[in-house]
Symmetry: D2
């Protein structure tokens, strides 16, 4: 019966016995000496260590994603949390909790789209036709276009690294080609292009590296946790207590009913 | 420009000026004297106060939903949180955060189904045909059947109150009839019935009272927050520190790779 | 051994067997018919049902606390969450998670102070001396004064209800007298008074009703969850996606270092 | 006035203008090419890039902290969350939210203790006297001893790296010496030693690198987020829905009052 409860919590990830900790089978003391932090991310998510080239590619995508300023609700909420008397852990949780389908899900959605396109190409479709078809079916294609940047400055360096990795045979380039075909289809006939954004460029990296789409979200959460923590910490340093979204001198507007009496004897 | 930021945070719900607070237009001091807590729930969600009969019906559904024991992950997670050195607010947040589509969404999904059926009946379909059709399309009908209770003890008293309200003309009974037709269709030809559970019975109440399906989830969150808080508080009283899911003597099983060397020079 | 894991999750609150649910020993179907929602709150937190007078007093304090507008970070964060593609449950969790020691803890801290004063009075001190001493030791006395309201409109009706309850012998008034003595001590020699705010007035109610200070926070979390839910729902209705703290047209300022080159070969 | 709201959200961390993103003043495209992920963590938390030796030391501490198995409540809660129909971001938030003062705060507390000892040594005290005095004042010294490991396998490799860094003049070793003195004081006169655990060893690393104690918690949150994500993902792969803390066959025990009638006419 003890087995039943123990089995209910069994895991492939980590083995713990008194004095020993293995992650994915590797003794933790060897990992401390010979693995990078990004290697450890890969190990726990994929079950084994990556080679150096794949690890560096993952690292570039994570580094690219750490922050995009306090205007993002995930960051703003974490900064507000930091002023409310909760631990930094709760401030970080507040931020990551907001990285849902709309605010943090575009990368995952882009990976799903790229997977579909790659499958269609493997089934014999031309990549340009498949991309044009996909574009025609979406009003908004996740991973492309940015409400603020005409061209996201993180696109080119990330795609450049993927192109290098394809040239060296590290990854096969199927998802990169699908993404570029979508970008071309989106530019076709428009006055201004809709280039890949950070969600699209990291989706290409993660998909080329074989991560499942849902882990695209997971990896973004890990990366953006860095910015969330840093902003929470910066706000802590400000000494503000109970920070609202706008300064107290700018009162929130009221648009509801005028003052009225509570009816008695309802 | 000040207006721009103030407008960004405008609301219909609450008016605050120095010395005055109105909720939905009613002075808070009048609400304190003449409104119940459930009235205040209705007021903020619907924009005006309910009559006494509707308020009591809502109250019964909320009361029915406060707890279902520590086996629920929302409750267990809150109890664990309470032992980790976070405030009760964070323990409660931990629990409510788990009331997602799978653990807390059946009521909302049932309300959506009932809305569809009611619409089909309004469009001329027979309620039994519409229900039989819906049942045939779902392997699992949200709001019906319980993995633990052969007949959920909360079903009968809640539906009894709805039937009374229909008899008195307080609500019109369309959603109740749709739900009963689904229950009948689910029983048809089966050796054992699949009666409405708490999610189904509260869905009938909330839908009859005119709440949107998504608020079905919201109301469940409010009600279950009571049990989450109470369990967190009970755990706090135990003095346990860092409560794991099973006692330390029942070690979680390890099912991953055997111990191996970290390859060097990757 | 099965007993070990079952016992690890044992509880006094709720008994579940197939077809039966008891809360605090009371069958849930009887509670649905004969108990209010506030009764159920009391039952789960205290182990038995309250009498009608105590239930009404608790209800008034909860009703008074449901909302104070979108300027509060707990509310603003929940509204932002609602625009990020997470469920209403996660939006509510986001808000309650911010009700920490600073933003949501004043009631608990006030209850602790009142408990100390009541103890000193029971030990023979005069209530005015004890209060004056407490005031002289705190720069900021939790539960007194409001950054926005010169006099919090929720103070008078709540204290009025407590006074009635004292007159009727429902509660003994020790904590009320201590709080009034603090208020008098704070007014002494100042040009403007520092009257009890919502945290202080509800602290008096909860303390008179015998709740532990930490549950003062818990009850505030339950009550404010109503406002958090209502604001999240109002924001959902707005259709805004990824709501930042200020409109996009008002860019957050940057105060860091000027653009510089990443040093190579570090 | 626009300035007022923009200033309210100003930051030193990230500069965003259309087409440009700088982190700490460095163009993001240069960071993608020339900085590691750990460099980016340092940059956002400290305001500038670290040298390679310091970056590697931080990396080792982060790598050492990624996971300690599903018995930890932070991990168990995240695994349960993953079965409840919430996004991976919310599952991760659930886990990090539990890393409070008790479950995740020992490193921060250890850093505070080490800072005190270092200050006393700088003020002229002998490190052994200061350590013995600190040990005598604490029943439980944060960062020392482990309820499961007689000797934490992460201690030696981490302290070895710090010793190397001291030998090379990368860090000054004050906090290392203080921690070793505490360890010696704890061993003094006991039948079994109480060696540094992961919290203590990483506290030494972070303190030697100049991080504030509260960021010790922050860095632990970042590192452990990797394990939290990986466990949530593993659980997702299991297909379990609504995972409770123990299998359904092991019912939680009930220890409350026997079934009783709700009194009427209260």
């Amino acid at each position: 019966m003890s087995a039943e409860a123990g089995q209910w919590w069994s895991t492939d990830l980590t083995r713990i016995v008194p004095g020993e900790i293995d992650l994915g089978g590797y003794p933790v003391e060897q990992l401390i000496e010979h693995a990078s932090f990004v290697d450890a991310v890969w190990l726990l998510l994929r079950g084994d260590l990556p080679d150096r080239r794949r690890s560096k590619l993952l690292e570039a995508a994570l580094t690219a994603s750490v922050d995009h300023g306090p205007q993002a609700p995930s960051i703003a909420a974490a900064r507000m949390a930091a002023t409310c008397g909760v631990g930094l852990n709760s401030a970080v949780a507040t931020g990551t909790n907001l990285l849902g389908d709309v605010h943090g899900g575009a990368g995952q959605q882009c990976m799903q789209l790229l997977d579909e396109l790659v499958q269609r190409v493997r089934d014999g479709a031309g990549v340009q036709d498949a991309a044009a078809d996909a574009v025609s079916r979406h009003r908004y294609v996740p991973g492309f276009g940015h409400r603020f940047h005409p061209r996201d400055p993180r696109r080119d360096p990330l795609l450049g690294l993927v192109e290098d990795a394809v040239a060296e045979g590290v990854v096969d380039g199927e998802h990169l080609r699908a993404a570029l075909a979508v970008e071309a289809a989106l530019a076709d006939g428009r006055t201004r292009p809709v280039p890949m954004n950070i969600d699209g460029a990291t989706a290409v990296v993660y998909a080329e590296l074989g991560f499942a789409p849902e882990l695209g979200r997971g990896l973004f959460v890990l990366a953006r946790s860095v910015g969330i923590l840093a902003h929470a910490w910066e706000e802590r340093g400000s000494g503000t207590r109970i920070k609202g979204p706008i300064p107290r001198t700018l009162l929130a507007g009221y648009t509801g009913p005028a003052t009225r009496e509570v009816p008695r004897g309802r």
